[in-house]
Symmetry: C2
Subunit: 169 residues, 2 copies
Amino acid sequence: MRERSGCPINLSMEVLGDRWTLVILRDMMFGNRRSFRDLLTNSVEGIASNILAARLRMLLAEGIITRTPDPAHKQKSTYSLTEKAIALVPVMVHLGAWGTAYLPVTPELAIRARVLADGGPALWDDFMDELRHLHLEARRAPEAGSVLDRLQRAYEAVAGSAGTGRHTP
Amino acid sequence: MRERSGCPINLSMEVLGDRWTLVILRDMMFGNRRSFRDLLTNSVEGIASNILAARLRMLLAEGIITRTPDPAHKQKSTYSLTEKAIALVPVMVHLGAWGTAYLPVTPELAIRARVLADGGPALWDDFMDELRHLHLEARRAPEAGSVLDRLQRAYEAVAGSAGTGRHTP
């Protein structure tokens, strides 16, 4: 008989323990993909539309993302990260660092993980503030540079030298 | 068509993206459970034996754990974490902190996550050294106190006041 447990690792894996959930959140965080169509058609890993739909429903139910309908197009919606999702940035950073250290990553898809890991907690905080600005309408200090722009420039420097044109995770 | 991708988040979730894998590694890390029987019968979440067997096979194949046969009992083995598993400690810490902040954890099962998160990178390094000592036969500096003992005392202080006798995640 499977039992419930209130252990934080167990509860976290009940929510996130799935091959696709963090990959979808990655595309929303790092690729600023906000629509079903953008998440589906630009998926490097080729996520199936029924799986994407099911995971978005779960993320909505868990309060990890929100959906705002487009008043002009009944079938179009914009998805946004909540604070609960933005709080996963340090998990993403450490998971990215672990993957980069131990798994067969490709250089141009790993460079952003490297820049974030090397930047340390101060850079993660800046990135989380930028995500709050993009997803929660929070104001940012005007002097803060865009972390997404910095990650994109790092990607282009590596992808350019590797001769590939793909620009998202 | 699903494609492979060399993104570190994607590759990490191909390995770890499953409801049980990190829960098994949690029990090896924090409960020092080293045998199939111990992992099975002391599982708070009641893992099924076929799932446990399949995940241990995968972890062995990925080089995340090793198995040492017991010379006296052909069917008994001791499982140990590798450096690749010990490198997941910061992921565990941040996942535990996220779960503690956002999910309905029980106090006695969350106290170790809190102590580790509050301890910061210095405590995680000490814990990783202790795991190297327990699993990789690495020597530790003798002045370093046991992080596992510290976590256990914190657990007992909370579990005692909550009136429960369970002592592992």
